[in-house]
Structures are given as C-alpha cells and as structure tokens.
Symmetry: D2
Subunit: 367 residues, 4 copies
C-alpha cells in the first residue's frame, strides 16, 4: 500500500506533486460547510514558507501562488473537497543531468531508488521541500477552523545552531518580524552571524522548533493509539528533516523524579488549575485544556557546498560539491510547516472527539 500521501481521518489532506512537475497541490476533505475562505487566506500562509526572503535562504525566486479550484462557493466552503493548486513556474530551466548520476548524502535519492526502482531526480522530485506547499495550504484552512473556536497556535525557532532564545525576552510579535522566526530579537544578530560563517564554510546547521497551542479544549485525543501526543508526533515527524519530537518536558522528563515531573492540581477561585505544566497539556493522550507544548528537532540542511564523499551510477566512489545556493538552515522555513501539521492534526482530533459522549449526539440530533 504505497498510499502515504494522505493524512487525517475526519479532516484529511492529500498532497501531490513533484518539485519540477507542472504543479504541486493538495485536496482537503472534511472541511465543514460555511467557513469563510478565499485564496488570500491560503496565500498569507504560503508566503511564510517562501524562499528568497533573506540571504539565509535559497535565492531561487518561487512564485507560489495559491489557486482554490473547488469546494468554495460565494466565499464560503461548501463541505466538499477543497482542491488547491500551486504551479511550479520557476522550476523548469535548471540542469539536473549531473544530480541524476549520484546520490546526495542526507537526501532521499538512494531510498527512492531502492523503493521504486528509479526516481524523478529533478530537484528531489516528491521528496523536495516543495511538497510542503500542500501541507501549508491545508494548514491555512485548519487554522481558520481553529480560530473560529478561539484555538491559537504560536510556533517559532527555539534554537538555531547552538544558539537558543532567552525565554525572558520572548515576544510573540517578533516571530514574523525577522527572517529567522526568532521570538527573541536579541538573538537575531548573533544567529545571522553564525549562519554567515556557515555559508562561508560551505556548511549548514540544525535547530529546534517549538509550538504552543493555547485555548485548546479538553478531551482531544483518542485512547489508546490515536492519542493527541501520538498523532502530533506522527504528523510533525512526517515533515522532511525532523528527527525527533517531544511533548512538555519531553526528553528532560527522562532525567527527572516523579516528584519533580508530576503536575499538582489545586482549585483557585473555583477553577481547577495545575501548578506546573510539565506534561505539556496532555495526560493519557488526552488534552487537559492547558497549553500544549511540542518541540521538534530539525537536522542541518543536507545540501552543502563542502566536499562530500558519495557514489555514482557507475558504482564509482566520487567527491562532490553540490552547486547552487542553499539555505544554511531549514528551521525558519519549516516553522510554518510544523504549525500547519499541528493545526491539521488538531482539527482532525477536534472532529474525532465530537461523538465522545451521548450528550453530544443528542445535542446535535435532537435539538
């Protein structure tokens, strides 16, 4: 069953398209009727993953224009599938004859060949970062749904290279004010300098993306396998370059004691609150209504100018220097992708939770 390009159960996205094909796109199914939606809503999100916005990302000019071609009528969703297409205008010209002959380290060139017998080698084909366009378009719609019930996501670069933000300087409004998605403006200059050094040396670095979900309803997540944390782990780990996912204290919890890690409860002014949120808002796989916190580890950009050892089609060991200008860091462009996958997962879990109680069934069908 090679059908891995579909995500979700009650709210689903199906992405398609290769880096250098005619277009990439996504079909969103399960969007309720009556949501206000325009191409601009999608465009705003797509622009957040646009390359070329700074010296730190690839200067290829991509004109990622979103076209909604179904599922919307007179400005509102109709309840039927929403098809969104983005044409690959700037992808045609490049020469990929060299890349076709060898396997780039850290890329999926080898594994696609192994699985399918051959590959579309132009720009990575299906394994290209352009595949995430469909995710971000789907995320745009998911976030519109979430905003209707006041759920809010905040996603940003926590660490780039080995430079982390200072939580005391955290300012949500800064995230999209700099090209690095850093919520701490005091770190911007330092990180920029680090990246310029990496570029100079033909190298790259990794980092950590953090996502916070505020005002999430309690009760989201299905026991036993489709827990909210498990679903988030899958959806975020499905993004290329992500090598780890953690919730709340995550790997740090492994080094704490129970007394340190348990979140105590108390009633304060008749409201049940937790003294801490080490669990990251999820217990037994189900949201407790407090903030959900997720972190994802992003590997360094594999395309680097430095000399690398690899093999070619003729089974020779060769040295390569990958041409072109590449982002020395994936994190800033991946921030919106992580946020999109989290949003899509949340909508799916919201819808899946609707029949958890008989009272809900009666509320919708007896009133």
């Amino acid at each position: 069953m090679s059908t891995g390009s579909n995500y979700g159960k009650s709210f689903t996205i199906s992405t398609w398209g290769e880096s250098h094909g005619e277009a990439v796109g996504v079909v969103i199914d399960g969007c309720p009727a009556g949501l206000d939606l325009s191409s601009e809503d999608v465009q705003i999100e797509l622009n957040k993953r646009k390359p070329g916005k700074s010296i730190f990302s690839t200067p290829r000019k991509e004109d990622d224009k979103a076209h909604i071609i179904s599922g919307v009528f007179e400005g509102k969703t109709t309840g039927t599938p929403i098809s969104i297409i983005v044409y690959n205008n700037n992808q045609k010209s490049k020469d990929y004859s060299e890349i076709a002959t060898y396997y780039r380290p850290g890329h999926a060139d080898l594994t696609y060949d192994m699985k399918y017998g051959f590959r579309d080698y132009r720009g990575g084909g299906r394994s290209s970062g352009r595949e995430t366009i469909g995710r971000v378009a789907g995320g745009a719609i998911a976030k519109k749904i979430l905003s209707e019930i006041n759920i809010k996501l905040t996603t940003y670069a926590r660490t780039i290279g080995n430079i982390s933000i200072d939580d005391n300087n955290f300012n949500e409004n800064e995230i999209w004010n700099n090209d690095l998605c850093l919520p701490d403006k005091n770190r911007v200059e330092k990180v920029e300098k680090h990246l310029l050094d990496l570029i100079k040396n033909g190298n790259s670095c990794g980092g950590i993306i953090e996502c916070k979900i505020n005002n999430i309803p309690s009760g989201l997540g299905e026991p036993v396998f489709d827990r909210l944390d498990a679903e988030l782990a899958k959806s975020v780990m499905s993004i290329g370059s992500i090598k780890g996912v953690e919730i709340g204290n995550g790997f740090t919890a492994a080094s704490l004691t129970g007394l340190e890690n348990n979140d105590f409860y108390n009633y304060s002014d008749d409201r049940l609150i937790k003294e801490t949120n080490n669990a990251g808002g999820i217990l037994g796989g189900i949201s407790d209504g407090s903030q959900v916190i997720l972190r994802a580890a992003v590997k360094p950009t594999p395309s680097i100018k430095s000399t690398q050892r690899t093999v070619n089609k003729d089974k020779n060991n060769i040295d390569i220097n990958i041409k072109g200008r590449h982002d020395p860091i994936i994190v800033p462009r991946a921030v919106i992708v992580v946020e999109s996958m989290v949003a899509i997962t949340l909508v799916d879990m919201l819808f899946r939770n609707m029949n958890s109680k008989m009272d809900n069934i009666k509320k919708l069908y007896l009133d």
Copy 2:
C-alpha cells in the same frame, strides 16, 4: 470518532479491556496464513512485561496467561483475525473507593473525566498499564513474522535515572539477564542502588529506551505522511509515559552541522555502504537497509508515596499519599512494549510496501 483503540493499516491490532474488568485482550487482523503460532509464543513475550519480577517493580502478583481463541488451526495461522484474551485474575479485590474521589497527579484521571464525563477509576481503567498486554501479544505475532524474513529487534534500557549504559560494555545477551533490561551489566548494581534510594524517599525516576532494528529491508515507509519514522513516532508515542521519540541522531542532529550529520556513501567490495549512520537508517521516510535506531523518553512513575497536592470531587484542595507499592521506574517493563509497537509498525510497513513496484505485482500474480 472515539475509535482510537485500533492501530495499523495492513496489519492491525485492536486492543480492549480495563485494568479491573474481567479481562484484557487484542484482536490481530492481517496476519498472513501459514505462520506457526502457539499460545506459548505469546506467553514468552507477556512474561517480559510481567510485574513482580524484582523488588523494583510492583509486587502485585499478576497471572497474565495468554489464550489464543481464534485465527489458528492445527498450529498455523489461518489468515483470519487472531483473538487473544488475558483474564484479570488478581484485580478484583482491591479497594478503590478513595482513588475514586480525587485526581492523581501525572495520571489520566482528570482527562478521562473531561472527555467522557466520568471514568472507570479502578486501577486506572483503560489508561492502566495493563492495556499494554494487548500490544505485547500483538508484538509477539509481529516478531514471529519479522523473524521469518530475518529482521531482528534489540531493545533495552539506555538510561535509568541519570545513569546511562557504557556502549563499550554493550552486551545484547545481558538485556534479559537482569530485571532492569540493561545491556551493560556493570551498570546494574549502580542503578539498583539508585532505585532503592528512590523507594526509600517515596519517589521515582524516568529513563530512556533504545531500539535497534537489524536486517531491515530497504524501501519500507510510504511517502509523504506515512513515513517509517513518522509511523514509528506515533506507535511509540502512543505508549503511556512516553514523552519524546527520536530517530538516529535525533535531537542531537539539531546541534550538528551538515558536514557532521550527513552520512557519506561508498562502495566497498561492490557493496554500497554508509560511512556513518547518523540518519538512523531512514532517509526521506524510507529505510535504506542499514540499522534503524530509535530512542524513547520515559517519564518517571507518577504514582509515588511522597505527599502530593491535588483536588477532590468536592472541589477541596487536599494532600495525598498514594498507597501500595509501585515501581520506582517504568523503563524495564516498558522495554518490551516499545519493542512490540516497533515490531507491529514494521510488519504494517512491510505489507504496505509490497505493491510499490509493478514488478512485485507481476511476481505474485503472473507466476
């Protein structure tokens, strides 16, 4: 859609049962016909998660006896669903009237109430660790399938408290020779001492489980969402107490450069090899045939004797001391659960990969 108790697409397990109901169990669907299978095959694995094997785990005597009651005929699987049941013999007596009145910190008591309006409070009900019996039984069958094509899993405690194994002393044969699933016998005494101290203080600790998959075929994992790493992340994160999952270098990759993290290729004696395996055997979500490495962060046992602050049904803030003897560490009993989920995921991905090429279709239907 509260249907979260089913895992897998081509090879599925559906678990059911509460800690203090009559039984717990699992239905495995998608097991091919013609596999040798007996209850003993399942029992061997269930015994690995048995409590009471040492002073470090709960002394409740559980008699977890596996009964295969369908899907096997004359010692072989028939291709139809395999139902396995384990009766809850020792669960009836205890008094849960107190636990019913308050929310235990770090447990799912609160969230089940939030989601469903009430809960089966006896021993955690569905959120109890006993739910993993079905996973381990399913894993036993998955591992039998994997062994038929020589795939081998090795899973163990990498870190307990803050004590990690020394990879130089790694000995696979030690894993099931000590009650802590430590592959480094030099660490056993030190960890035991640490756990005894925790018990004395009414506290607990977390740790890290590591799983290695050897001899995995290349090509497993479906782009784009159902990647091998994404599926593993979900299946492992779906285990209670797991707060983070990483593949290969994982979170460490976030602090490396591209030059450090990329795995270079070369041909050695006509065999394509990688100089390193920082990617943990997966590129673009697809296995490359080298060892897959996964780590999971386990939180400290939430049930501790130390005084904790919480709230009760009458909305009072209270102090509690959880009675009974509890494991000061979840890791050793969770090792076989992690291995089971990895095995189940692998079989699912093996089956899903079978139609990746037209050649495979022809091989099975034209010969």
Copy 3:
C-alpha cells in the same frame, strides 16, 4: 491487506472467531460514553438469530450467551472499546473428517483454500454463519444509540421461496411472533408448507429481506463515495448469502420513466413533503429525512441433502449428500443480521455527519 474483519470509520466493529473455535466475539469501538448498556441488551438481539427455534431451522442447540467484558462501568458505556464474547459450547463434538476432504457447492470451502492455502474446515470456520454473532452484538449497541435519538428500524422477510407478503396485511408486530419473521400472518402457513416440502425433497429456497428506517435525520451520507446508499450496500452485501441490494425502487427503477420515478415535492401545512418515495429516502447519497427502504436478496441455503456433484482432495469427481439437518431457508435468521448491519452503518454515518457544518463545531465547542 487481509484485514477485512473490521467495519466502520467513526463507529467500528471488529469481529473474530471460527465456528468451532473456543468462542466468537466482537470489539465495538467508537461507542460514546454514557449509554446505558447491559449484557441483557445484547442477549435480546442474539436470541433473534438463535437456531433451533422451529422445525425450519437447524436443531443444533446453541447456547449463545453474550458476555460484555470491557467498556461498561456501573451500567454505562465508558467511551472505550466494548468487547463481547460468546463461547462456542456446543461445537466441539462433531466429526468433520469427511467435510475436510471435499468442497461443498455454494460454500466458501474452495475459495478459502485458494486464498490461504488451507482452511479451518470445522463447520465452515470463519465463513460460518456463527460469524454473524459479532455483527448482531454490535447491532444491539448501534440500535440502542439510534433509539436515543428516536431512529427506528423495521426488518422482516418480504419473500420466502416465491411467496411474498401482502402489503395490505402488513403488521409490524407480527414479525417476531412467527419463526419466519413474516409481518403478514396470513402468509405464515403457506410458507411453512412450502418449507416442509423442500425439507422432504432435501432442497432449500431463497428469499428477500426488507428493512425500513424511520425518523432518520436528514443529511446522513457523505458525498461522493461514502454515500449512505453505498455504505448500506456494502454492509448488507458483506453478509454471507446476500447476492443483491437495492434502495427504494431499486431494480424496478430501471424499468420506469423519469416522470414515474421522480418524487415531487410540495409544502403541506408548512412542512416540505414528497408525494412519493421512489428514491427510498436517499438523494445524491444523502438522506432526506423520509423513510429509507432497502431490500436484500438472499440465496437458498447451500447445504442440502440432495445429491450434489463435487470434487475431493484426491482430485476425484464424487457425489455427496450433506449430512445433518439444515435450515431450508436462511432468510428468518438473516433478518436480524441485516438489521444489525444497517444499524451499525447508520450510527457510523450519524457520527461522520457531525462536522458537516461549522455551526455544529461551534455548538459543541463554544457553548
């Protein structure tokens, strides 16, 4: 993907078990919390498919006792999987050595061998009618959910042999008053006589089952593939012995004109009504709130005493006379199975429809 023993998306049943194994059973997942449920609720439905209730059905004494062993706490469903088991008490003794050597015409003996390489030949194994016990148990729960929102199913034998009921004599209360599930008591004697003749001649007959759904909410059914009629067609056709399914006018519609078949609308006392219901309550795959009507064609019982030609293991052409007493008609016992599958499908579609409008999402999450 041999995983065909699971049905439903938002409300699912997973059946397991062979005719002559230790037990048969079902796991129901997706049942909302807070529904009153006892084993007796299930038993009442199981008794409707019980054999041995008359001379017309097999005299094997089956003691089909339902045990609910998970998912219910203090008389209410908890939202977690409901596991129901029925032990096969009376199945052990019989000698199946002969049946193992040849293929019974009209049974699945041959195809199971073809698919799996061998088969559990005892009483048909998985392809036995006993497999429907799980469906009926699942249907019992589905019907309880439906009754909470006043949806009502009426299912009965429309035709047995070539004798059909007279709609003018239709009396719903008669259905379970006779062993043939005939809603027309004037036909009972005539059908009984016909069946006695068939028994005498070692033969059997087929028939037609009809199901009506009253008080169904409008809007059920998902375009385009998961239409209500398509889902019903699948769930009913999945019952052994069913060879055809139709909705509303069904095959008769094929011989009508548009003017005859279209249902005209009008407002009567401010209520939108249809002058006729040829469509059987479904347009574009979506319920319109009027009565849904479905009919299923049931083939004649394949196990007959008359001499039949078949082949044995040694590849000889042989004549057989199937021993034992068998129902000369499947219809009466299949009535409750059809009703169960329709009920399960309806609950699934009810739950799947809950997020069709943004207003519903807001109603459940903003109030």
Copy 4:
C-alpha cells in the same frame, strides 16, 4: 467526518471539483512505480463518457481534456500520487439563477441544502455527473494495471427502457460501435426509436448495466466485511443514479432452490471447473477465478422537460419545466463509470490480497 470523496484502501482515488468550478480532478495514490502511463491513456477512457456523441445525449460541448500533472516521470509512474486535472471550459456561461430558487425532483438539490445549509446550485455542483470524470480517469489507470496481469473487464448496456439485449447476439466488439453501448446490434434501432419517443414526450427511462470480469485471480476479497462482492456493491452504488447492485444470479437467486442455485464442481482434464456460475465467481466474498458478473440498476434521468411539481425558496408549491436538452437515458454514459469503479475496486483488492500468505511475504522479501 465529511470526508467521503476518497475511495480505496491500498489503491485510492480522491476526487474533487464541481460542475461549474474551474476544474474537476482526481488524485490517485498507491499506483505502483514502473507502469507506462501517458495522458492519452486517460483521454481514451474520458472520451467514452463524453456527452454530445449522439442525439440521445446532451449536446453541451464538453472539452474534457486530461492533464496528468504529477506522479509520472519519463513516461512511467513513479509510485507517488498521480494528479489529473480536467478544466471546465464550457461551463461558465449558463444562467443558473432560476435553478437556484427551487428543488429539482430526483436531484440532490434538497439533500445538499439539508446537510450543508446551502449549495453550489450551478449545474448540480458536486453532485453533478461531471464528478465522474475523476472516477473514469482513476479507472483508466486501474485498467492499465489490470491489463498487466491480463485481467479484462467487459461492460455494457444490458437493458434500456424495457428493451434487453439478446444474449445469443452478444458481440463484445459492438459495445463501443454504437452510442448506446449495446453489445447486440440488433437492438440498437429499437432502442433509438424508444428514446426518440421519450424525448418527444419530455420524458426519460432507466436501464441496467452489466459488467463481466475475466481472468480474475482467485483469492481476491477479504473476509468478513471487505468481501469482493461487498466492495463492488459499495463502489458501484456510489455512482449517482445507481439504485441496485447484484452479483451472479443476484435477485433471481432469491427465487431459486438450493439445487438450482448451487454450482457443482468437477475435474475436467485435471482442471477444477464449475458446471455453472450462478454465484458470479464469488463465494464467501472471495473470487474463485471464474468470471465475475455484476449488474447495476440505473434510474431514469431525473431532468425532464415534462411539467413537474416542486417547491421554491419562498415555500411556494410550483410547477416547473426543466430547460435545456438532457439525455433521456443515463445508461450509455454510465457504462464507463461502472467499469471504472469495478476496475479501481479490483486493483485495491489485488493489492490487499498480496499478504494473505506467509509464502508471498517470503517471495518478495527473501528472494
């Protein structure tokens, strides 16, 4: 879960698009790598459902040109999703202001309003026959896969109005030689005359489509719910206008005796054969390798010129005469749609059957 626009498990199609949107399309996921595929392969099939080919179908000129925009590289499928788009060139101009104000009898106007609160009224929106373009495009690919292992489908009009073909004159080569898809050329003139009469009277008629599958492998179909016949019933019933589906003898089996309906076996020249094929090639939901036969009842075209009674937005009872020229019969254009859905289902079941035996797993992974 309003996600009904996706069909299949191991080979899936996701259709999208409205009659009068910018385009309609389909994403096919699960197509193996290495299949030769061009837009022309799809175009040939799309042309079979093209309107305007005779006086009997709507004269709207539709320019249904297939564009494959992903999943194919250098003439071969790559194993990744195949996106096919067909622009709605001729749909823009018409005035739908009137149709927006009332409910057309026999159409989905009312039920879409009921489900979603409003509808895209232009040409039926999502419930338009144009939705089947995606199915036919998916079917084109499915049929290419089937032909690689020599499976062949033959689909045609069996009955139009009340005129049926004479099986003695059956000639497969005639099917696409006349505009009515009749395999019996002696019936063409008679049917044409009947249709002209209907047009004259502003009326329409229904009919029956028959599909035969030759050279199907044995073993296809998963017990218990995902039987081959159940899956076919769903996929065919999901086509608009289909009101009934039957396999083999179908509804006729209901009126036969066991002795008449059972298919006897014998060995002839060492080959196992059946004396008859009343079961239509499926026993216990699994193919036995003989011809599979399916029939579908098609309702008469609901759009007719004759005066019909309905209601309008202002809740008035009104008389309407639907404008424009409409097909007096749906059958000929639906033939290729039925064939497509059968082909898609078959490929899905072929792939799902691949792991039915351990031997198959070993064959693919150990060789």
